[in-house]
Symmetry: C2
Subunit: 452 residues, 2 copies
């Protein structure tokens, strides 16, 4: 209690931590505190101030720990965890047509499989410090309740194609489904629905425009895989006489409410189009490397002011959902391909995984930094392991040395979801039982296919 008066009530006060705010000034408190009330951050500041000012229902000792915003995974296909490691190191076409598509045809159509995959994905993400993810897959209306159960924050975007998908008849029918899903979830505190057009080579121009109109009508985002590799660029050029980016610009769908996923192969003009329209970009370095697609021109995009967030992509091509791992790979990748040791500094990498990612998906009014009035999404990172010592620079440690497994506590929307590396809401053994059963079926399917 200070002499200034009565202490203010807080639900949670984390004190004596190294607090990395990622706010506009990138304030860092060597010994800082964060006070939380309900789902919101009340105040961020030096411990000596906040400890006297607040009386909290729960105080958490942050000594020898980093407290920072939860990580924002801007692009994944979460339920695909059921396929983790089912097919690797194969030529791209063989991987897709002989493995992933046949598996999806059988197993993605069963919603129970996707629910289990989604639960496994959320467990993995929470345990490696991710507190928000933007997903693109199927059955998003039904899967949203699974996400809601876990207490995780997410935007789920149902993918529309010209053709039918495991969940929908395709085209307008899918858009109707998405329309309903958006309305069903628009007031939920954690889970929202977006619109996804799979890619310019699987969705006709008219349908892309309609998908964007639907997103605009509901003030939500359109996501689309864009310029992922040279094949796509060549294909779209042949079909529409333009690069994929230019094609979307011609359709009038590039704006700050569009998230362009991948953007590996970009011309200077493409970069102009993305920067000029404020289109957000999702960068998935590990997937781009593993599928030998190339290195997106991220340093140039950042220089031009494009909001580039980081996404793990689905585990069929990664094979994990660990954002720490992803930003380390990202920083190393761009140093190599730019032939410069200064490119994508550790600080930039942390920005991309937090506040810049939040901007890319239009969520920075609520998350991405620790600031008064923002949602209380934050992670506490243990610094007590050999690989985390010594610590000279907090950004360098986060990107080059620390691990997802160092995340000790995770708070989403003011609720402690992980404590001492244990999930507080989820029953992992039930999830594992489901996953074992599904993996068993998938293995049997693969053996039968091979035997043919």
């Amino acid at each position: 209690m200070t002499s200034a008066g009565q202490p203010i009530h807080a639900d949670i006060l984390i004190h004596d931590a190294m607090v990395l705010t990622m706010d506009e000034e990138r304030r860092f408190f060597e010994n800082g505190s964060v006070a939380v009330s309900g789902d919101e951050i009340l105040e961020v500041g030096p411990s000596e101030e906040l400890k006297g000012k607040y009386r909290a229902s729960r105080t958490i000792d942050g000594r020898n720990k980093i407290l920072m915003p939860g990580l924002v995974n801007v692009h994944t296909h979460a339920p695909m965890t059921i396929y983790r490691g089912a097919a690797d190191d194969l030529p791209l076409k063989e991987w897709l047509y002989d493995h992933i598509f046949p598996l999806e045809a059988v197993f993605t159509s069963k919603i129970e499989n996707l629910k289990a995959g989604m639960r496994l994905a959320i467990a993995e993400m929470l345990l490696s410090g991710t507190t928000m993810f933007k997903d693109m897959y199927y059955f998003t209306d039904e899967l949203a309740s699974v996400v809601a159960e876990t207490g995780m924050r997410a935007t789920l975007s149902e993918g529309v194609f010209d053709n039918p998908t495991p969940s929908n008849a395709g085209g307008d029918k899918t858009l109707d489904y998405i329309d309903g899903a958006i309305q069903n979830w628009q007031h939920h505190p954690l889970v929202r629905q977006g619109v996804a057009a799979h890619a310019a080579y699987t969705v006709s121009p008219g349908l892309i425009v309609k998908a964007k109109e639907l997103a605009r009508r509901h003030d939500t985002m359109l996501s689309i895989h864009l310029s992922e590799n040279q094949w796509e660029v060549d294909t779209i050029r042949e079909m529409y006489g333009a690069t994929p980016v230019k094609h979307l610009e011609n359709l009038g769908v590039l704006d700050r409410q569009t998230l362009a996923v991948h953007c590996v192969i970009l011309s200077d003009e493409d970069i102009n189009s993305l920067a000029g329209s404020n289109t957000g970009v999702a960068h998935s370095p590990q997937c781009n490397m593993k599928l030998a697609n190339g290195a997106a021109p991220v340093p140039e995009l950042l220089k031009r002011g494009v909001h580039v967030g980081v996404g793990t992509d689905g585990v069929a091509s990664n094979n994990d959902l660990d954002m720490f791992d992803e930003i380390r790979s990202m920083s190393l990748l761009h140093k190599l391909t730019s032939n410069s040791t200064t490119v994508i500094s550790a600080k930039e990498a942390v920005e991309m995984a937090t506040i810049t990612g939040a901007k890319a998906i239009g969520y920075d009014d609520r998350i991405g930094s620790l600031e008064e009035g923002k949602k209380a999404d934050m992670i506490l990172i243990n610094l007590g392991k050999p690989h985390s010592k010594p610590l000279y620079n907090v950004y360098s440690s986060l990107v080059y040395s620390l691990r997802g497994s160092d995340v000790e506590m995770v708070i989403v929307n003011g609720e402690v979801l992980v404590e001492q590396r244990q999930l507080q809401r989820m029953d992992l053994s039930a999830v594992y039982e489901d996953i074992e059963r599904i993996a068993h079926e998938i293995s049997a399917f693969q053996r039968r296919k091979q035997a043919r």
Copy 2:
């Protein structure tokens, strides 16, 4: 006990594990056992056979775990952990001349600092599954006893330069020191001494030849940084009219008892020279990326039968000693730069981190695989976390999903050094105290330097 007779005594029997042997046939037992007596492996086989055949002082339940050879880190500068994160994201020359060299001039010369750094390094390596490392640094005679204390396996190679180093007067004086060190340690079960010539641009031809002669005399290896970047190739060409590899070939020092570290920039002829002479290669992908040096032609080297092992390099340029992280980066890197999804398969990556690495450093008669008569260096990996599920392919899981932090138990030379992720021999709190003190001094030094 089988009807065949009395059970055989074993000190340790790990049973019911997924056993990845990495032997010549790459045998994998879905439900396997390994029996250990003293420092050696007695037998590897199906659990149903071994459980009846042996009566063990200690049985270890391997259910839901992978048992495999400990990882072999073929190149690092272990004591440099004291500089972890002290200088990152800087232009190469500024990094070396304004940061690393001034730091080393002051702090590397104090042997107590290096002892603390070595202990921290060994703790980190053991906790991420490494059971053998080949080190290149200073004061190797004195540091060997620190390694021996921990129970870790290592070869330490004192670096010789023309000029004095923090530990030695340089040239012949250093070679005399190494000669003594080799003799002091030649009968130790775990710790050996090698010879290191720093690089062709810091060590004159005559001294390189003498260093190799010394190594030959004691039947140990010569390590040398070789062809790390374009600058080195240009410099050596100017000095000696040959590529660095050709220069060493001309000196007659390339053979199976030489370890060439990095080999990033290689001509076809260089590859011929390395393959023809059976020279081992140490590959450090993360360091090569972080310092923007390039991607070594590893797929080509492997195709030509060169034994390429994996090294983390020192943490000043990585910034960790985690071999899991290193092989994941390696596999992704070469897929990208080779423009092929099939390059450096998960299986090849695991081979490089175990048996091929052991071959590269001339240690495959003792370690690198789980086989009767080899030393009992092995790790048990927990598969109970969300990111490790499901498991379709053990190699894929190891490279693309599993983490150093999943290593639960580590056995070196038959002794359990890590159990339930706790170090059994080392007192971490004492190590941390030393490290904190040294880091404090280093920070103060950096502040003073900046203020000037």
